[in-house]
Symmetry: C2
Subunit: 187 residues, 2 copies
Amino acid sequence: MTVVLDHSRNGVDTQQMYGTLDAIKAEPSLGTFQFRARNHWIDGAHNRSTIQGFYGAGQEDRSRAHAFSLDAGEPAVLLGTDTGPNPAEYLLHALAACLTTTLVYVAAARKVRLTEVESTLEGDMDVRGALGLSDEVRNGFTKIRVSFKVRGDASPEKLREVVERAKARSAVFDMVTNGVPVEVVAD
Amino acid sequence: MTVVLDHSRNGVDTQQMYGTLDAIKAEPSLGTFQFRARNHWIDGAHNRSTIQGFYGAGQEDRSRAHAFSLDAGEPAVLLGTDTGPNPAEYLLHALAACLTTTLVYVAAARKVRLTEVESTLEGDMDVRGALGLSDEVRNGFTKIRVSFKVRGDASPEKLREVVERAKARSAVFDMVTNGVPVEVVAD
């Protein structure tokens, strides 16, 4: 008799996942990461970030052969030429991506096989803040709404628990809801 | 004698900029915007957002002929296959892009011609939070550092003022430093 051990669930290698968790539990300093981006202005609202190296798991990670390149822009109504999503839209994507990946990892750990995860995000902004026309409205979104559709081999209740756990563990959800100290220096 | 009126500064049409500001001043409801993203899970840490329509300036904006598509991922050490920048890196890009565009617009309004704007960003994270290994560390970055290099036809002091004003008006800087209420629903 052949027993096939499938170590993958939701595209996550669960053997590797438990190994990673055990390694960091045994040596907490392996959990120290630093992520980075470099950005340069091109013209008007068009600028580009390159993202490649990072520090993590006790060393400078050099596994990425090429840098990722991300172009930002603004639509015409906000004085750009639509060279990419605008920065606020990138923030929505960061939030969607982080909640989704966290949800997928949580499901893998809880033995839930997912078949579908979709989300739609909306952020409300009064641009009078960012345009300097009003000090009574904030610059950023006043509110973000995230609506998930999650399907898998578990009860609706269990799937909702997975979403709740994703909220409780997502790095970007934490940052967007609680804020992060940002130091800006210029030369 | 021919007088050439150059309405562009830093790639920003300043005539259009002042027109937009005047229009929103006269009718504040034109400042109401809603930005959106749709995300779907592909496999493991790989998911993709599409970004196209938004509401703003009193109407549903349909100026984008195509959707932007953004792929997220995680490097191998974080259990992915490097299908794109990770969500926290996307957040750094959103912050860099927003500070840069705001800086470029502020400079255009203040008659400063920029020649170079570059920034490097670093975010420190103890991944034991997001991995559920510790309740004593937060999930997201504990700190973000942004370092700008800004060059143009103004004094270093004036250029630093432009950076300060960009911090004071950037939508994503506001959101990342102060946080935003996020509502998550799942079905």
